[in-house]
Symmetry: C2
Subunit: 156 residues, 2 copies
């Protein structure tokens, strides 16, 4: 059982703990994001560790991914490469448990504050996708790996 | 004078302190991002406070904004509403001093770790653009303002 911050929504809490919601959900999602803001109808979701505030990754959501995230309490995205709804962790098991969601001033970007199961968000095995930093005219790579991608995803 | 983390790039340090670079800059930017990844040629830049790790905002960059940021050490973006290169803080004076830049695994998203002058990143006067959080089927707003937008930007 996960430890929740007090401000996790009652709805997410119920979902994550499989507590029946007895008609609490309306069929209409009340929080409407401005998906028309971008040409492709996708909005960026910044993914941040809910305890350390580390930025783990950025992915894109459409209305379906947004609703699925709100309904399940697990981060869903729209995969631009596969053109499909994507439950993060569906292959690796490294699901992102939503602890809090923030919405920006323009309703066109969200922050998912998550607990990253498996401790790594990046398909390369790094803790975060942002494992390289600008240094002079080049990039310095943090080589620390949480897992071996071949073991998790299989050989490519 | 700003206090820098040790890992601020020598190049940015020189620029910010107006130290002549004596041919250190190449005319070619070595760090190439994949601007072709998006339909409109823009990539998201996540803006994070360099000390607290708080996510302050998200904006978009094109090649020109990216180069200007690297060259000046101040965050530049491409304004989608004005369709123009945008030095953050050009109106308000609330410039973002770059302390570190992170690049993701796909070269299509960056994190600007910044010192936010004026202490507020959002045009609404909030510290961060993400001043609303999902709670149940609605949004809870943090009403704390750092500045009065009318005083900074004038009446709209």
């Amino acid at each position: 059982m996960h430890v929740f911050k007090l401000n996790v929504s009652r709805r997410l809490f119920r979902k994550l703990h499989s507590i029946p919601t007895a008609g609490v959900f309306s069929s209409t999602i009340m929080i409407s994001l401005n998906f028309k803001k971008s040409a492709d109808g996708l909005l960026p979701a910044i993914v941040q560790d809910y305890l350390s505030n580390e930025v783990l990754m950025l992915a894109y959501i459409n209305q379906a991914a947004w609703e699925k995230t709100l309904e399940t309490g697990k981060a869903h995205y729209w995969s631009r490469s596969r053109n499909a709804l994507w439950l993060k962790g569906e292959t690796s098991g490294h699901v992102q448990i939503i602890h809090q969601i923030l919405v920006d001033c323009d309703n066109d970007t969200v922050v998912y504050r998550v607990e990253q199961l498996g401790h790594a968000a990046c398909h390369t095995g790094h803790r975060t996708c942002f494992y390289r930093r600008v240094e002079g005219d080049g990039l310095i790579t943090d080589e620390t790996l949480v897992f071996d991608p071949e073991l998790v995803y299989g050989k490519k």
